[in-house]
């Protein structure tokens, strides 16, 4: 018998049939009896005091059932950083002040969307305009307008990380360079916009169906904001059309639908328009980097000093975490003996900048991987070689921060080295750039101050052997329902279709932090594996009794066969043992429980994935336009649970991170986003996609379920840097300012030509 029966196999997604037949229900598809439709009125000004809101005309419009403003709220402020009250700064429905174009000021519930929309026009808001500031560099100046009361210099959060003796180390360097980079904003552009159906009943209980990455966060935050007990709020995540970091904070659709429903005791649905999605939800944090890097002649990097200022936008959101992670990942994936990071997040009168796939790491990886290539060139060292010399290795301790157990970076470097050699001599204006990276498998930090285990699972085995798996994990399209079902089936020794997963419904599933930070495979996977093992143990007790086995024999289940490990032919059918066990326990179903919270794994994450990516581009030197020809990635994520899932993650990541490096941007004019539509916001579409390839690397993570670790966000980190390095390899110009657009390339080519002349 092979080692694994389910994991590592190419299986169909458990939600595949529903999705391909169009029968999968998303929040948008939910229609409740008597349901109303809500719309949200948003500030047209980047910074203004609310003098008065007159809703009387809107309320008189036929078909309008309710209008709410900040006065209808408890006036509480929130964020997911509950542990730090000063970072809970967002009211959602503003009471006294708006801080960006898009800040919600009122919401309407009406019999249809058109009526609600019409009512918005009838709400009269009297504003007193205030001076606004959009650039973080300006925002931190003495003379800048103050965006939040009591926050001096608009500095929202500061972060400091340091180890070794950085100043001393720089003195010992043979070579030091200092560079500046700018990382742009990016929109998540989920297929499904933010949306919620909220139903508050006469039983004083609130149920919310919503597109979310964390049912539990929304449950807890809504309860607090509306003055309800958590247990009286049930959040159900139907099928979800993407999250990418945009959907684990409480959003205006969820909050306003809930508030309106509570006022009316009627269900209310709010679906954000695509324009609202672009202008009034959160986005990737723009960052300004100054980096000083020192090395010995042989390429050994001795010291790094990073200073970052981020454009925070109007509220904290998850931006505080992005500020921390970009600092931590600026040291990745290398062994800097001396390191210092200072990060500052500035409030600005722009849409809040927060979490997005990679969570600060795509920025730091672009910066770090651009600079290491510069260093390598300066010192005349091969880019792969300099990464080999400094790259992390297994069992490496990031001083005071993290313990890295498994690490396959060097195997990845070997694979990519081989790949580049195979490509051989390239035609003119073509280049291959490489970028190494690492990422976490879920975060250890508990800024949400959850009292619950980070992940938990319940496995129930019924009389027919069918297994109900309950988990709070949120499948937002990334495939966690499939991955967790596979882990459950493998551990329990049954088939994938023996598992029926119930996920992300706070009414029936254990609390779970949700889908962010690439945590589900490792954290939920561990909880699921433990729950399945707990259930299996109960079966094996009865099986051992029935087989009359000598107690020294180990027993296990595989392919629905309960057997002795060393004599697999001696066994019994799983189905029979399930029946016997339930009978033996007076008819009680078998329930296994598992929960996982990382301990003694440092401050960041219990495990890290690593990888190296090579991007090949071809530049048209006449126009600056370039094509992505091929993106090849060696990603090591420990044991691969779901190979098809990883391929999907890779393709999606290349599309998204390629867009980040290549074309995506959110230009603003006085705080107003200029391209709030899919027509104007440039994405990489299927026809622009390069050939993608994944190179297998075999590692094993002791902390992960069956040795697995993340394969989600990490893949988003390398591409911008690899593109930048590839453009440089192709035509010798380097762009430090994302995205690397044809305009910038052409301008740099011209400047280079002028310099040469």
């Amino acid at each position: 018998m092979s080692k694994y029966s389910v994991i590592g196999k190419r299986v169909h997604r458990v939600d595949g049939p529903e999705k391909v037949t169009g029968s999968a229900k998303y929040t948008f598809d939910i229609v409740l009896h008597n349901m109303l439709y809500g719309k949200i009125l948003r500030s047209p000004y980047p910074h203004a005091r609310i003098v008065n809101i007159d809703t009387s005309q809107a309320e008189r419009l036929i078909g309008v059932k309710a209008v709410v403003t900040g006065k209808d709220t408890l006036g509480r402020k929130q964020s997911t950083w509950r542990r730090f009250p000063e970072l809970c700064d967002e009211e959602i429905l503003c009471r006294t002040k708006v801080r960006y174009i898009g800040d919600p000021v009122a919401a309407v519930a009406a019999i249809d969307e058109d009526t609600a929309e019409e009512a918005l026009d009838l709400i009269e808001v009297e504003y007193e305009l205030l001076p606004a500031v959009f650039d973080p560099m300006e925002a931190i100046k003495e003379e800048a307008p103050q965006i939040h009361e009591g926050v001096e210099l608009n500095i929202n959060v500061t972060r400091h990380i340091e180890w070794g003796d950085v100043d001393e180390a720089f003195k010992q360097c043979d070579y030091i360079r200092e560079d500046h980079f700018k990382c742009s904003s990016q929109a998540h552009v989920c297929m499904e916009t933010h949306c919620a159906v909220a139903s508050f009943g006469y039983d004083s209980k609130l149920t919310i169906w919503t597109s979310t990455q964390s049912s539990y966060y929304i449950q807890a935050l809504v309860a607090d904001m509306l003055g309800l007990r958590e247990g009286d709020v049930r959040v159900i995540k139907p099928h979800t059309g993407g999250g990418f970091g945009s959907k684990f904070e409480l959003d205006s659709a969820q909050f306003c639908a809930s508030l309106l429903s509570m006022k009316l005791c009627q269900p209310v649905k709010i679906v954000l328009s695509r324009e609202e999605e672009f202008t009034a939800t959160k986005r990737r944090t723009p960052m300004y980097y100054s980096v000083k890097l020192g090395a010995k002649k042989d390429g050994t990097m001795l010291a790094k000093e990073v200073r970052v200022i981020t454009e925070g936008g109007a509220y904290t959101g998850m931006g505080a975490t992005a500020l921390y992670l970009t600092g931590f990942f600026s040291s990745f994936p290398y062994k800097y003996p001396n390191y210092r990071y200072d990060g500052y997040r500035a409030y600005t009168n722009t849409a809040p900048a927060s979490a997005m796939r990679g969570f600060g790491a795509p920025q730091s990886t672009f910066v770090g991987e651009s600079q290491i290539d510069m260093l390598a060139e300066d010192l005349g060292i091969d880019p792969i070689e300099i990464r080999r010399k400094n790259g992390m290795t297994p069992d490496y301790e990031v001083p005071g921060q993290a313990h890295i157990q498994s690490c396959g970076l060097h195997q990845c470097l070997d694979k990519i080295d081989e790949h580049i050699k195979e490509r051989g001599e390239l035609p003119p204006n073509r280049g291959i750039g490489v970028s190494a990276y690492g990422f976490m498998s879920g975060g250890i930090f508990n800024w949400f101050d959850t009292p619950y285990a980070f992940s938990a699972a319940i496995v129930r085995i019924n009389i027919d052997g069918k297994v109900d798996l309950f988990t709070g994990a949120c499948d937002i399209g990334q495939g966690s329902d499939t991955t967790l079902s596979m882990i459950c089936a493998e551990e329990l020794g049954v088939h994938l279709d023996d598992i029926r997963i119930h996920a992300a419904d706070t009414g029936i599933c254990p609390a779970d932090l949700g889908a962010w930070g690439s945590r589900e495979t490792l954290m939920n996977g561990n909880a699921v594996k433990m729950a399945a093992a707990d259930a299996k143990r109960q079966l094996l007790e009865f099986a051992a009794a029935k087989l009359g086995a000598n107690i020294v024999y180990d027993m296990d289940i595989k392919d629905q066969w309960v057997h002795m490990v060393d004599r697999p032919e001696r066994g019994l059918s799983y189905f029979d043992i399930v029946k016997d066990t339930i009978r033996g326990r007076d008819g009680e179903t078998i329930i296994g429980r598992g929960h996982y919270t990382p301990h003694r794994k440092g401050m960041i994450s219990p495990a890290y994935s690593f990888g190296v990516q090579a991007a090949e581009v071809e530049v048209d030197t006449e126009t600056g336009k370039y094509k992505l020809i091929n993106v090849t990635t060696a990603h090591e994520s420990g044991t691969v649970i779901n190979p098809v899932g990883i391929e999907g993650q890779l393709e999606g990541a290349v599309m998204m991170a390629g867009g980040y490096g290549f074309c995506e941007d959110q230009p603003m004019d006085e705080g107003k986003i200029l391209n709030p539509s899919i027509a104007d916001y440039k994405l990489i579409r299927s026809l622009d996609m390069p050939e993608t390839k994944i190179l297998e690397v075999d590692t094993y993570e002791p902390e992960g379920p069956f040795g697995a670790k993340e394969a989600g966000e990490g893949l988003t980190n390398p591409t911008a840097g690899a593109i930048g390095n590839a453009v440089y390899k192709a035509v010798g110009v380097r762009i430090n300012d994302l995205p690397i657009t044809p305009e910038k390339v052409l301008k740099a080519l011209k400047e280079k030509k002028q310099q040469a002349e």
Copy 2:
């Protein structure tokens, strides 16, 4: 502090707010995307062979999506008597033969009900008519047509119960009388007709929302009939508008909707019309009784011999149980030292006769309580007195059948005696009749052959102290959600609104036999109490540790206060201890489990309720019409959990059992029910309702949760007998043939007058 904080209190139903505001969702209210509507074609003949079914025209009708017949099924036969395959005799969609007017032969799914209805007319069924038999006395004759192949004399089930030496005992009797009785049919007349929404998805999983008394039975039966695994079928019971015994068998709406949905991969809703409800669902079993009763001069009853033939209708259904229970309850509530019962269930070409509230006991109680009054009169003994002399007492063993622990019959007799005395001398043509009775608190028999515990519950405590209670119990209007929530709150020491119940959804709740046989308060109550105790124990461990209590002290929780039993002022807040416990367990929620299956409690039930009812009537001797003036009941159900619930049960029972005694009937002509509408089927309506009163009796049942036992069906048993006895007391005529209509009374009065002349 008083003994109980929650139980015994007059609380609002937990489903009250939803119901009184009209926001409660019933199966009828469920509308799914792409949902179709189904209709069922039924046999117009009582007995016929199906020669051919041509569905081609119906299939061509625009708007029709599918037509199914018996050929689309696996040809399996079912009933809830799974342990006895020969009693599984109902195909639902008949393949070769129809056996009653209403037997389903085809079903249609279409875009709306009208189209489906129209399509039914286009289905051409060629029948070969067969001779039919309607009267059970005829059906068991040699020359009668055979309704089921291989079933000789159409005898479907026989039952024999015997103890003592009956023949010898009769020899020792001073007085013997033999009487014949006929008990009529009765319709359940639920406010909500049978209905189901079935949705079979591309994931090959079937979800059914249905009005049922047992989600689990329907899950198991549908799975078997459609060849699915139980775990792939999820049955959800929304709010339910009554069951009364009619809704724990698989019905045509559930089966046809599921079959159609499986064929189409689209949701299908079927709601039976009121006419179908009367003609093509099951009904109370008509019974023919011959009873021989022997006593000593002093009224001590020595021997009873009962022979019953029941009109079974076309299929077994739950009729086999009714046959057994009417035999067992024919000995109730008296201590017969010698007893013999022979029961025969005959197949007839009428709608299947099966379970209805009381389940055979209203019949046997009418018969027994009529006859004991005759005996008392013959011997010149007061009716209360003869019941006192023979009535059951605590710790009584029904030989070989049952062990009765608590029994408050004698207190009930005292209360009713007092009540009658209080009424004093009555005007002419008025009379008070009494009737004593007993009933079970759930059945021990496992003809369904469930491998699961009879009841199970899971209690989950969340960080905010809110408690999720998961149970398979089915609240069909009787209030089990409230009763079980009260039990959970009491045991856990929290408030009723701390509990949130999740019930009767096989996807998330433990398996449970459902709501029948008055089992939920005792059986589910025990499981819930155990689950709550299990959760509480976990809290008390942490509380004891925190309080540093000497380990000999007992601790408990009451009113959200965790304290030492003997020093209640020393304690801690429940909410704090919940937080501590979850924290102490690394964030795992607290889960308690409980399950209950009766053991060593005989063959029938773990506990029995008792009661005595007095009905006062006034007869108009000119017309035979009579009025129910007052019905007063002393019912002992052990500790009263939910007093408002018992009052509701009593009122409903007087209405339903009064109707059984007074006016309800289903006359037939050649197997055709003549009054299939609420206009023609006579019910007692609110204006006809007598004054009702409940007299409290204090008992304690050791096997029940907090000492509780049943207060549901038992209340349906006495009324027909009490009415019969009251009419006799009022005007001296006795009707042995239910219902006791004015016509029968007038006829008897005339006969009496003629005899006297």
